[in-house]
Amino acid sequence: MSTINPSYITSVPSDNTYDDPAERPPLITGANDFTSVTDKVVDIALGKPNPIWWAAFLTASFFALLFFIQIGILFVTGVGIWGNNQPVSWGFPIINFVFWVGIGHAGTLISAILFLFRQNWRTSINRFAEAMTIFAVVCAGIFPLIHVGRPWLAFWLFPYPNQMAMWPQFRSPLLWDVFAVSTYFSVSLAFWYVGMVPDLATIRDRAKNRLTQMFYGVLALGWNGSSRHWQRFERMYLLLAALATPLVLSVHSVVSFDFAISQLPGWHTTIFPPYFVAGAIYGGFAMVLTLAVPSRAIFGIQDIITPRHIDLMCKVMLGTGLIVTFAYTVEFFVAAYSNHHFEQFLFLNRPFGPYKWIGFWCMFTLNCVIPQILWYKPCRQNLWTVMLAAMSVNAGMWFERYVIVVTSLHRDFLPSSWDDFQPTFYDFSMFACSFGLFFSLFLIFLKVLPIVAIAEVKSVMPQAHEGHGHDHGHDEKGGA
């Protein structure tokens, strides 16, 4: 078994994407040890921001500001500034909500499910995937809140005793959403933060000036790397992963119930929960790639987020993309097989009706056709084609929600109530500006907090195992 080439520790291999069972590829490339990994990540947080970071941050925060101005206009004017109307009473806000909450799923999937499956490659990307989750759920939460008509009364959604004898309806999928999304947000936030505590301690111990020492000192809660602490920490992390896994699957299932519990053709479908979950992970992985590929270049962490990580993320994306494609197909089959003529009409209306181009065929091309390039290894290794596929999925998943919401609502049971959906300027601009909020938060995270789970990366490095110095024939014990 002693076939692992020890040169990978001293030389700088460029390709760790091979799948040779006799020779397991290293997760971290380059001549890295604990010191250099610490330096690389900590210097991002403590060093001066890169000019590209500044340019990106100023642009993003400008759009975030516009977003808040538009929310102000919405509060003053009312939801009439949007194109929501009868019969399409759920327009962009719900599309954007499902889109953002879907993006939020990859983070917890990478953290929790891949952790339970002992996929050690997750350690390089989990931290910022989790951050992406938090910020995407923030963006997601804003849309239903501002869409309720009287947003200052949004607290009525929560069960609290009151003198109005007014109580939320627990039979309603919209209330399930309140529980699911708020639980998801708070659990993801806790998971993200406590996972970061040891790394915040690393930054604290490296900080030079008093102010940063105090800032990271408070955030690190006095972590001192005690093995007794680590034992409880790891047990907690395992439990959180075990709890977050069904949570991830439940949240998007509940989001799909918003649709599936209704009677409307095109929504009233039993495949919705798995279809939405797969779609969420698909869109989420696309966003992780969209963020990972530029970040690793800007911050110089190509040794930590290696070609292998990108390759594996592409494979997950390809796999979930095939599930999504299968779900699209099943919907058509069920419509045909059900002999339900409203359902059959709807599924002919999607590819051939008024929203065929800006809707169904956009979705189909972007989600089902373009990402197929990832079958070919050269495409998974070329960052431009990876980005092409990821961007296509990002856009395609938005179109998927657009197709589900708009094409199902605009032609319901009674032709007299049919009407077309006209998105307004505010519909488009608020969606675009929500990206500003997302990217502002994400860029602050990239600059201030440890963007790679330093402790976890160290624990999957070969040096983390006893006997590493004497015998290179270990079969990556950390992988077991």
Binding site: R171, F179, T183, S227, L240, G467
Partner: protein
């Protein structure tokens, strides 16, 4: 608390020994365990798998807290939904109070299946937060002061070095012999930490 007349300076907290890598650390950990220390610890920048057995540390009781919290969360969810939506009507709940039993579209008052999502989410919410806070509580965090943080050397414990710390309150502790013992284990450096 002046213990006796001879100690004038600050009290001793313990001795830390620095180790460069796993190959020197792990044999040292085993020897410390065999020596029979009780108040000692290993500080490392990442979780070392299997070190608990080597150190003789018992498993944590954290999962039991989480189990109890999960059951509590589930009960909260059941009470919240069944009591408020079904009230005393047509249910197995022994309360004589009426909450908000809305009759909507002729749905049964006790439509339990529809309440599984809130019950499930509350179970997860209670368990997850208990896991986090129980971990912090059992570890004694947040802890904004610790004698170890006075050591400049110890700052590498969160980066790339491993430390064995034997505390002065250990019954077997003796400044002289413990220092010699730790030095013989192959420590890179030794440092005496004051309270």
């Amino acid at each position: 608390m002046a213990a006796d007349a001879t100690t004038t300076g600050p009290d001793l907290y313990g001795i830390i020994a620095e180790f460069k890598d796993m190959d020197t650390l792990m044999p040292a950990v085993r020897k410390c365990r065999d020596e029979g220390f009780e108040k000692w610890d290993v500080h490392a920048p990442f979780p070392i798998h299997g070190i608990d057995e080597e150190m003789g540390v018992k498993r944590t009781i954290l999962p039991y807290f989480v189990l109890v919290a999960g059951l509590l969360g589930m009960s909260t969810g059941i009470i919240l939904t069944v009591y408020t939506m079904a009230g005393p009507i047509n249910t197995w709940l022994w309360v004589n109070l009426e909450a908000y039993p809305y009759l909507i579209s002729g749905k049964p008052f006790n439509s339990f299946a529809a309440w599984i999502p809130p019950i499930f989410e509350l179970t997860i919410l209670f368990s997850a937060f208990t896991a986090v806070f129980a971990m912090l509580g059992l570890n004694g965090l947040p802890m904004l002061y610790h004698p170890l943080f006075k050591s400049q050397n110890f700052r590498r414990a969160t980066a790339d070095r491993f430390f064995i710390c034997v505390e002065a309150r250990d019954p077997r502790f003796d400044p002289e012999t413990t220092s010699n013992f730790l030095r013989d284990l192959g420590a890179e450096s030794l440092e005496i930490i004051e309270e």
